[in-house]
């Protein structure tokens, strides 16, 4: 077995500046408050919260790497494994299901040929099941990064997949 040098990850200069601004928002000694925002920043850059990225966040905040991991693993938004280019997070909670969510999500997974939690072979799509996205009056709903897609139907899903595959 060969020992490989551990890959290191750094924020881009713009993100590093932003990270420092975020850290400065909190009282002295309370920089750990910046952990959730910084994990979002890491995921925005890397697509997921990789172990190397979390180590980098730990050193920026002067906390132990395990403190980062225990937080990242508590919250559902952080991807602890690599994901596809587009992560489709669909709401599986009651009100969306009342509006036909189950059928639409089945269609979505069938179209992509994957189950929730999986990524397509071409690395383009990951599908995740999430709980209520606070858009119940517009269900069924899914989210891709910051964008909400509402009033979903099978046709609308086909259209979105087509657009994102182009």
């Amino acid at each position: 077995m060969t020992t490989e040098a551990k890959p290191t990850i750094a924020f881009t200069p713009e993100r590093l500046t932003l990270a420092k601004e975020i850290i400065a928002r909190y009282p002295a000694g309370k920089q750990k408050s910046a952990l959730l925002p910084l994990l979002h920043l890491l995921q925005e850059q890397e697509g997921w919260t990789s172990p190397e990225g979390m180590d980098m966040v730990a050193s920026l905040l002067d906390i132990q790497p395990i403190e980062v991991f225990e937080v990242a693993s508590f919250y559902t938004m952080y991807h602890l494994d690599p994901v596809g280019k587009h992560v489709i997070e669909y709401c599986r909670t009651g009100p969306c299901c009342l509006m036909g969510g189950e059928e639409v999500y089945a269609h979505l997974k069938q179209t992509l040929g994957i189950e929730a939690g999986q990524t397509t072979a071409d690395g383009l799509f990951t599908v995740k099941e999430v709980e209520c996205l606070a858009a119940c009056g517009m269900g069924p709903v899914f989210q891709i990064r910051e964008q909400y897609y509402t009033h979903l139907t099978n046709e609308r899903v086909d259209e979105i997949i087509r657009d994102l595959s182009a």
């Binding site: 959730l36 009651g94 009100p95 996205l133 606070a134 119940c136 909400y148």
Partner: protein, 446 residues
């Protein structure tokens, strides 16, 4: 048309910008409070208004404010709970996205009243696009001199920080939210000490919901008595209701508290009635946590009087025949909805969202989901129904935070009012597991 306090200007083009909001009379309440009132005076008006916590608990906001400890030389914090995650609830999302300055203005007034110089708005991370809207609004307000040092020459300083969550329903519980804001896992804290004494960074802290804070501009401008004159009895003011499910017009509606439930569902001003050709079967009036009611008890009290959209009327009859206003997450079910499937769905939610700290909740929510799953999928036994009631009872009241109760109530109430539907699933497993099959038995539709 009912009184509009929060949404009067929400459809004005450009209302998300400082200039348009200002032209509609925005930030006059900040001027009035900072130039002509004392912090105590603002607290007094909010107390007089009788506004109750709009996040779901319904605790009087002014009273919560008056509990805030004020030790010398220790910072105090205001934290806005914008972690809206209760299934069926999307009003804060709507308000922040469309009229962000209403929340910013309320934050300035409330922070001034409480003597906080740094305040936080904790927004669920999924709403990152709303966080960007709020940050833009804060920058505009700051550029106009309504935030920062020496606001309007009053000597009062305030910085506002928008904090994203990471995806966890439990962080809507105020002590879990504070843990999360400190960069930790969202495990609720034991109380006491209450946040009013030891909150964020162990300093005195008030946590209020978005909608509650947003009322303060109107209260400062018009007075607490005027606010208390709206609504009915101790349910003062207006409430945002997030209406979803099988209605013609889902959406967020601002109602004066006291509107009859029947009118709210069937009037064209609000939900517009049940979708064509269908009938009301059940109602969850205040978010997934509150007891579900069958059609007849949704519209009328046990004595036959109309049920009203108010804290008191919705809880009339206790859990035997009543429910709660909660967060105003109003989910309407018609006869195509399967109560067992929906109850299983909600149980899965609470199991997923339990933080795992207290065994009754961690284990109990898992058991309820499992048992409901097997009933829904045709493998239940009659004993399972009583088992569910038993598990729900053992969770309720035995946990650090109210998530346990919130998980127990939907299950207990579904069995209380729709027991025959559960029994039908058990005695007719083949029929009940056909796609789209719904019990057509003794339910009374309206």
């Amino acid at each position: 048309m009912g009184k509009k306090i929060l949404t009067e200007h929400i459809n004005v083009a450009g209302i998300e910008t400082f200039d348009v909001y200002r032209k509609q009379g925005g930030y006059t309440a900040v001027e009035k409070a900072l130039k002509t009132m004392t912090p105590e005076g603002v607290v007094e008006e909010v107390k007089k208004a009788g506004v109750r916590g709009r996040g779901g608990a319904g605790f009087p906001m002014g009273m919560k404010w008056s509990f805030l400890a004020k030790p010398e030389g220790v910072p105090r914090y205001l934290v806005c709970n914008a972690d809206e995650s209760e299934p069926g609830t999307f009003k804060d999302h709507y308000l922040m996205k469309n009229i962000p300055h209403l929340l910013i203005e309320g934050m300035i007034i409330s922070s001034f009243a409480l003597g906080a110089n740094t305040s936080f708005i904790y927004v669920r991370g999924e709403l990152m696009y709303v966080i960007r809207i709020l940050e833009k609004a804060i920058a505009e307000a700051k550029a106009a001199g309504f935030l920062g040092k020496n606001i309007l020459g009053s000597g009062y300083d305030l910085e506002l920080v928008v904090q994203p969550g990471g995806g966890a329903y439990i962080c809507g519980e105020e002590t879990a939210l504070l843990e999360s804001l400190e960069g930790k896992r969202g495990n609720p804290r034991n109380k006491p000490p209450f946040p009013a004494v030891k909150g964020l960074y162990q300093c005195p802290t008030v946590v209020n919901n978005v909608e509650s804070i947003a009322t303060t501009s109107w209260i400062v401008n018009n007075g607490g008595d005027a606010y208390a004159g709206i609504g009915i009895g101790r349910s003062t003011g207006t409430k945002l209701i997030s209406a979803s499910g099988h209605i013609k017009k889902p959406g967020v509606y601002e109602i004066e508290l006291g509107v009859p439930v029947e009118e709210f569902i069937y009037s064209d001003e609000w939900c517009g009635g049940i979708r064509d050709g269908h009938h009301l079967k059940a109602l969850v009036a205040g978010g997934s946590s509150v007891p579900i009611l069958p059609a007849e008890l949704s519209l009328k009290l046990a004595n036959g009087d109309p049920r009203l959209m108010s804290y008191e009327s919705l809880s009339e009859g206790g859990f035997q025949t009543g429910t709660m206003l909660g967060s105003g997450g109003f989910i309407v079910f018609d006869e195509t909805a399967c109560i067992v499937r929906n109850t299983w769905n909600f149980s899965r939610f609470y199991h997923h969202e339990s933080c795992g700290q207290c065994s009754p909740c961690r284990e109990g929510t898992g058991w309820m989901e499992k048992v409901l799953h097997r009933i829904e999928h045709g493998h239940g036994s009659m004993h399972d129904i009583d088992l569910l009631v038993d598990v729900a009872k053992k969770i309720e009241g035995n946990t650090i935070c109210p998530l346990g109760d919130a998980a127990a109530w939907p299950v207990a109430s579904a069995i209380r009012h729709f027991r025959d539907e559960f029994e039908w699933h058990i005695t007719n497993p083949f029929e009940a597991t056909q796609p789209g099959a719904v019990y057509q038995g003794h339910m009374a539709l309206v």
